[in-house]
Symmetry: C2
DNA sequence: TGATCTCTGTCAATCGTTTGACAGAAAAAT
DNA sequence: ATTTTTCTGTCAAACGATTGACAGAGATCA
């Protein structure tokens, strides 16, 4: 049986109230009593029951983190950074993998509410804004405008789109494609596309788009890319909205005998450690994953500390960097 | 304010006890009353407070999952599968990223205990067996012998080592290296090495090992691999204990102008979807990630249902498959 | 000496449920 | 008409803590 507060009190020769006061640092307690209580706690290997504490009104110290897919290296690294921060601060993370499933995401939201989490970091984007607006708990959103009461943290996707496209222009490309799925407004990809489109306009180049949805299978994507490269032989530059697609493109190009970067230049987006370590040739836009995680967590803490406090800023766009590499 | 049990009772025109009985399906309740209660619950958007329920003695429906690194694609995919299962069964997952830190891992264990999780899936291996033995909660372990009371689920690493090595032998390799870190017994890598060593013995070939620790940085690893390939020009086959190292090796070989598979054949280990999708040339040993996750979860449920029930089996080794590809 | 401050303790209410004991009513079976 | 079964309800204790009110002790200060 796990020891409880009264066991500690008995061992320390004092009342349960005193033990609770030592734990919560509440009221007047002499150092001597404190020491005795701590000793008893150690001896019994006592830990307060967090359930009981939370029921009493204390925080649960639990944070829900909803991501679209943990197997996506970008989100894996983001989650790892978030978890590191949270655990340093004594928080627990309930991880929710929402995939492309809005029903599942809604269930997660209900579940997190029922579990009295202190707050939520929402990185998945399947639900209507309505679902989030009527949600009572502190939320911060990653990369997506949810509601006016919810602060957004994300990379400056527009800037990234400009940087990547400009790099291709500067490298002399004349037929530059954008590969991604910018159909939904408010999507990060949409802003990357806008950066691309504006840069094309400035350089007097035509906009070319090849749709590639996030949830398509890699082999389907690869087939589509092959089709594209084979039929449109004039392509000399591609800005991929994510690195994984860029890798597929590099592979397809190699198989078709297209030389990178001589005949085709490629820039990706995300710049995870995984990519930097295992695909070091790929030029890409690096998102500041650690900073993003830090900002998400920091803002969430602020919301938790005072949910009614008006937001200083609704949106926090962190700068990205171009990583110049062999594919450009 | 969130509605509580008594609010539902009031709305449904019955006592709190009755509402609780409807929720818990306990005692005699007429269909008419049930319907009234359900209607009231829906109308108020009521959800039982899980904290209060758990405090009362119900399960928390929370599972702790401890992994060494969520950014490792293998663990990312394993965690995704585990989470999928758990969430289908109404469980929540607290994710713990232990890195190489035994102090952190011990803290996690304490934290999970304090949070009354129903059970733990332990995939990290920094702690002494002692720490786990005196742990009161149901545990299952991934790939590591923790204590006699803890069932182990893992791939048949020995078989994998044999398969990979035999494939290299069959392909005509004469100087086959093992790259990995088999120093600790009980490590998965150790059994992969044993499979390799036994296969070498059977084929009358010499064992060659190049240490490569899990936690070394990829660039350090790459440098070591370059050194190895440059100095030992006779190497014609390598069995890498994980795919990520294999990828580095392929890259290093390419840079040195060593042709794969003509001059050097490579087999990896893990066979994640990521590798199969984005490095489809790599021959590797595929671990059945979905089955591993399913088995871990199933065994944990059994432990939770009856912790005192003796284990039918201490160890569950799932078969692996050789994925023959261009690098062999 | 009296007033103030510090320490320790008891008591009871509270958080939101669950559940056993018990009672009474209606419905069904004998 | 009587017994049994089914339904609904009240009451109270419990889960393991927190915390305000209150009281009394000893120490310190004026």
């Amino acid at each position: 049986m796990r020891p409880k507060l009264t066991d500690v009190a008995e061992k320390a020769g004092c009342s349960p109230t005193t033990v609770s006061r030592v734990i919560n640092n509440y009221g007047y307690i002499s150092q001597k009593t404190k020491d005795r209580v701590y000793a008893a706690m150690r001896e019994l290997n006592y830990q307060p029951n967090t359930l009981a504490r939370s029921l009493q009104g204390k925080q649960t110290k639990m944070i829900g983190v909803i991501v679209p897919s943990i197997t996506n290296p970008f989100f894996a690294e983001l989650v790892a950074k978030i978890e590191e921060q949270l655990s340093d601060d004594g928080y627990k993370m309930i991880l929710c993998n929402a995939e492309q499933d809005s029903i599942k995401e809604r269930q997660y939201l209900r579940m997190l509410e029922a579990n009295q989490v202190d707050g939520i970091i929402a990185g998945s984007h399947n639900l209507d804004i309505e679902d989030y607006r009527r949600f009572g708990l502190p939320i911060v959103s990653f990369d997506r405008d949810l509601a006016s009461s919810v602060p957004i943290v994300g990379s400056d996707n527009y800037q990234g789109g400009c940087l990547a496209s400009q790099a291709l222009v500067d490298a002399g490309c004349k037929h530059i494609y954008f590969i991604g799925n910018p159909n939904k407004t408010g999507n990060p990809t949409f802003y990357r596309f806008e950066g691309y489109a504006d840069t094309m306009a400035k350089a007097n180049l035509t906009v070319h788009t090849a749709r590639s949805a996030f949830y398509e299978s890699p082999s389907a994507k690869a087939a589509a890319l092959k089709e594209l490269l084979a039929s449109e032989r004039k392509i000399d530059g591609v800005f991929c909205s994510d690195d994984m697609t860029a890798i597929l493109l590099l592979r397809v190009a190699k198989n078709l005998g297209i030389k990178v970067p001589e005949e085709l230049k490629v820039v990706g987006f995300d710049g995870t450690q995984l990519i930097q370590n295992y695909e070091p040739d790929l030029a890409t836009i690096v998102q500041p994953i650690g900073d993003l995680a830090g900002m998400l967590v920091k803002l969430l803490y602020e919301r938790i500390a005072d949910p009614s406090k008006p937001l200083a800023q609704n949106s926090y766009l962190l700068p990205v960097k171009l990583l110049k590499n062999q594919t450009i």
